[in-house]
């Protein structure tokens, strides 16, 4: 008994580990952590569906209010297993939404970066446009949907213009912040060499702004998709937003649920793409080796 006690309290010998082993072990641990978080994710999913099923079994709500998981799964399959070449299929509709998202994102983020840099570089630009931008941002942009539809019709350009409005602001604000917050010592170094404002901009400020710029783009892509779906719901002929509106009109709640799940997956993938691009392109940013930052989008 006492001998067991003694062995237990004896300090464990410090293992001598060659550095390569440490690295390998760390890598293995990282892979294991990834596996564990995936496990948790699946566990949460199973648990969530279980509670959902349980609630439906106990309270028996009408299907048009809360459909049971299985009927949503059937509706999900019906949406996914369709021919993309059929213009009425979910894939074709999603394609239309994605087109507006992509074009709107390209224009909105391009303009956001351009004006963000200009506003960061010139105090006059900042003072001129900033109050209006804030006013524009505080406007519920969804309310502009019908107006944009009267201007641009029910086609692609109306949707795209709403997407542009959604993307522009977060990209601009983040770019501006990034440009302004460039390390003054780096700027001084360029100035000591006689580097003027233009050189300061393209040798230091633009690079310094990139981490924040990408944060804006990560938000922007989610907003873009959101804006496209919203535009479609308020007035368009094509797109997943139109589908949702139709499902709602038909009280086809399981199909609505299924489509919402698809939209969530698409939004997640879009955000992931931007995040991977962020880590790849802004490779010098501290912490880009391992962590995956969460960007939340609401609105």
């Amino acid at each position: 008994m006492s001998s067991v006690q003694a062995t237990r309290t004896r300090p464990a010998p410090v293992p001598v580990v060659p550095p390569t082993t440490v690295l390998r072990r760390r890598r293995r641990r990282k892979a294991r952590n990834g596996g564990i978080s995936l496990l948790y994710l699946l566990l949460a999913l199973v648990l969530g569906i279980g509670i959902w099923q349980l609630a439906v079994t106990i309270y028996r709500p009408p299907t048009y209010i809360i459909p049971p998981p299985l009927s949503v799964w059937t509706a999900f399959k019906a949406l996914v297993v369709t021919d993309p070449s059929d213009p009425n299929s979910m894939w074709a509709q999603l394609g239309s939404t994605m087109q507006a998202t992509a074009i709107g994102f390209a224009i909105g983020s391009g303009a956001g970066i351009l004006f963000g840099v200009l506003a960061g570089e010139f105090a006059i630009v900042r003072r001129l446009i900033y109050p209006y931008l804030v006013a524009l941002q505080s406007l519920p942009k969804v309310a502009l949907g019908p107006l944009l539809a009267t201007w641009f019709g029910f086609g692609l350009s109306a949707k795209t213009s709403l997407v542009v409005l959604f993307v522009f602001f977060p990209v601009l604000v983040n770019t501006l912040q990034g440009v302004v917050s460039a390390d003054p010592d780096r700027i001084d170094l360029l100035r000591s060499l006689g580097g003027g404002r233009l050189q300061q901009l393209y040798r230091v400020r633009l690079f310094s702004a990139m981490p924040m710029m990408f944060t804006g783009l990560e938000l922007g892509i989610v907003y873009a998709f959101l804006g496209a779906v919203l535009a479609e719901m308020t007035g368009a002929q094509q797109g997943v937003g139109v589908m949702i509106a139709q499902f709602q009109n038909n009280s086809d709640t399981q199909a609505t649920f299924a489509l919402l799940i698809i939209l969530a997956i698409v939004g997640f993938i879009l955000n992931m793409i931007l995040r991977v691009a962020h880590i790849r392109i802004v490779f010098w940013e501290a912490g880009n080796d391992n962590d995956v930052r969460m960007t939340s989008a609401q609105g």
Partner: protein
């Protein structure tokens, strides 16, 4: 015998347009000189700051001058004026006896943090001055490799700053400051962020780099022993308003070793500490 000679010069009073301090080189031989430099400004919290007062300083070609002083004594402001980053309120800046306008002279700046561009490879960081000044490419690249060799960074050209230790990053910063063959190397507490051991090693390496290049150096530091080890001449500044209160000539032969601190150099460290402490006693808070 060359030992340590020191001489304390008296502080000049305001309005005295008299001759520069005795140990400074005569104006004709001065490589870099500042005359009657004043720096005053309104700080952000709306107080009037007299940062520098009556600074007269001449530096000979190839001389290593260290500037010592308590925090906020304006030693960094002096360096920033020499770097052309801020304009003095009064006074002039002379290179080879000629007054210079801002940015007409070439300086090499080594800031406190290495301040490398993390998005550029080491070799491109060193080449930064060539890019800014639009120097011929082939020649600059050759020089960059030479400097990386000299600073012991050969083989690290293609690495990124984050892959290097703090000491190595600071050596990159020194190599970069030398790329465009500047008239004056300005170092602003370059080793302050390093650990004690690395700091000593870097001092020794800086000495050999300086001996190999023969650059005129202004080295701002708050480490007395570092100044005594490295400098030909030590300028001691008072706390606000920053004035030169003492100058010490250090004639120890070179190359100086880290371990062969003589009794005289230790005595000099003590003397300088006495001057600095005396100053802080005079100025409350």
């Amino acid at each position: 015998m060359s030992g340590v000679e020191s001489k304390v010069t008296t502080t000049k009073s305001v309005g005295d347009n008299g001759s520069p301090s005795g140990l400074a080189a005569p104006d004709g031989a001065a490589h870099v000189a500042v005359q009657d430099l004043m720096l005053r400004y309104w700080s952000k919290d709306a107080t009037y700051v007299e940062a520098l007062q009556d600074i007269d300083l001449s530096i000979r070609q190839g001389e290593f001058v260290a500037v010592l002083g308590p925090s906020g004594c304006g030693k960094s402001s002096l360096l920033r004026i020499l770097a052309g980053l801020i304009e003095p309120t009064e006074g002039s800046l002379l290179f080879h006896g000629q007054p210079v306008q801002r940015r007409q002279h070439k300086v090499g700046l080594v800031p406190q943090a290495a301040t490398l561009m993390p998005w550029l490879k080491i070799v491109d960081n060193v080449l930064m001055p060539a890019k800014v000044l639009r120097l011929p490419k082939a020649e600059s690249v050759r020089r960059a490799h030479e400097l990386l060799e000299m600073t012991g960074l050969a083989g690290f050209e293609k690495k990124y700053p984050r892959q290097l230790s703090g000491g190595m990053q600071q050596r990159v910063s020194i190599a970069r400051a030398l790329l465009h063959d500047p008239e004056l190397l300005l170092m602003d507490e370059p080793f302050a962020a390093l650990d004690a051991l690395t700091r000593e090693r870097m001092s020794a390496e800086l000495q050999s780099i300086w001996m190999a290049t023969g650059k005129t150096v202004l080295f701002v530091t708050h480490s007395i022993s570092e100044a005594v080890f490295l400098a030909d001449r030590i300028i001691v500044m008072s706390s606000r308003p920053g004035r030169i209160i003492a100058e010490f000539q250090v004639d120890r032969p070179r190359p100086r070793g880290l371990d062969d601190a003589t009794e005289e150099s230790e005595r000099l460290v003590a003397t300088i500490r006495g001057v600095l402490e005396g100053d802080s006693r005079e100025v409350p808070a």
